[in-house]
Subunit: 217 residues, 2 copies
């Protein structure tokens, strides 16, 4: 995994390393970033003045081109789940998934993991706030990465999410995770979402079980 | 709220009514549906054979057009949070949000709510399965709708999610929610995600507090 200059982990403690996919100067990354821009702009544009008929036509044209070059889903999934592809398609950190923020999660020398992000309109729940379910999504994924960083991971069995205060859109947020204990196949992991001032907006306790769904081959 | 023929709630009990946004024959709905198609096709297409350079350029061109016609975010948010717009932009049911599946949640005569959906590649967690955090997102939102249907809603204070078995992609799923009790300002609501055979994949208990973030005006 290479680390381009623009994802140097600025702001992370010295010795931190990215554990999820980092932007590459690749056409698929640029196309996905552009798709994210379209998703947001569709929510923000003036419904009366933008030419949404033409936009619909153009987007369908692009989709047709991409679909014409798509292998069978089954074959594509084998590719997705091989090698470095693994961290590039998920809905939280996947640089190739326009639904993903994308969050970049770093492994810290103290054994915890951290991502920093600013969440915008597509992820809105209450007015001006991050959707509570989106916070759960970001935390579930971050706890999974924390387990990988600790060397023992598995599937989510239980997630207890507590909402302490509304999580603001448009402000820098810190997403933290840490594996707390391993007892047989049971893994306990905690995390939180904080504002730049360190106020905890959401906290989570996760129970993971050390088992896996087999990868497609 | 109008109900076009293609969202008649087929499969729902008689007397069910849609509580979230339903597709309209509107340019913004068509453009957003096309954007969803692009998001999925970007994940599925052959990275070597599709012309992703050109796709990136075209998507950026579309984003520029939409952005040029976007009012200030603050003004747009006032519009989003007024009248029927309220259920059209969220990341679960929003017909104008390409991140949303979109799920249509129906209010059932027995007081519960239900949505039916088939989840695909952009929402993948483990191979071939729905991301655990996406399940939490779908359930959090569905519990919120269940509270509205019961006539008393609020903000999520706590969400306890249990994962009983992997939730499959590509298969019809049922998302259920029901308000269980109200005690002062505390609202307790439960829900689950089931396969078409009725197997519970994920269950949730939510605690909501009857308070609101003010709407932008």
């Amino acid at each position: 995994m290479t680390t381009p200059a623009d994802t140097s982990g600025a702001g992370m403690p010295a010795g931190s390393v990215p554990l999820t996919s980092v932007p590459q100067d690749a056409p698929v990354d640029r196309a996905t970033a552009a798709a994210r821009r379209v998703v947001e702009a569709l929510l923000l544009t003036d419904r009366a003045n933008a030419n949404l008929e033409r936009v619909a036509e153009e987007l369908n044209g692009i989709a047709e081109h991409l679909e014409q070059h798509a292998p069978a889903v089954r074959d594509r999934m084998v590719d997705m789940w091989g090698g470095e592809g693994v961290t590039r398609h998920d809905p939280v950190t996947g640089l190739e998934n326009a639904i993903a923020l994308p969050l970049i999660v770093y492994g810290l020398p103290d054994g915890s993991v951290r991502g920093e992000t600013t969440v915008t309109i597509p992820y809105q729940g209450p007015p001006g706030c991050v959707h509570g379910g989106v916070s759960a999504l970001l935390l579930d994924h971050t706890l999974g990465v924390a387990n990988m960083w600790a060397g023992r991971d598995g599937m989510t069995a239980q997630l207890n999410v507590r909402y302490h205060r509304p999580t603001p859109l448009f402000e820098p947020l810190q997403i933290n995770g840490r594996q707390e204990s391993v007892d047989g196949r049971k893994i306990r992991t905690t995390g939180d979402i904080r504002t730049a001032e360190g106020e905890v907006c959401v906290s989570v306790e996760g129970l993971f079980v050390d088992k896996k769904v087999p990868r497609p081959r």
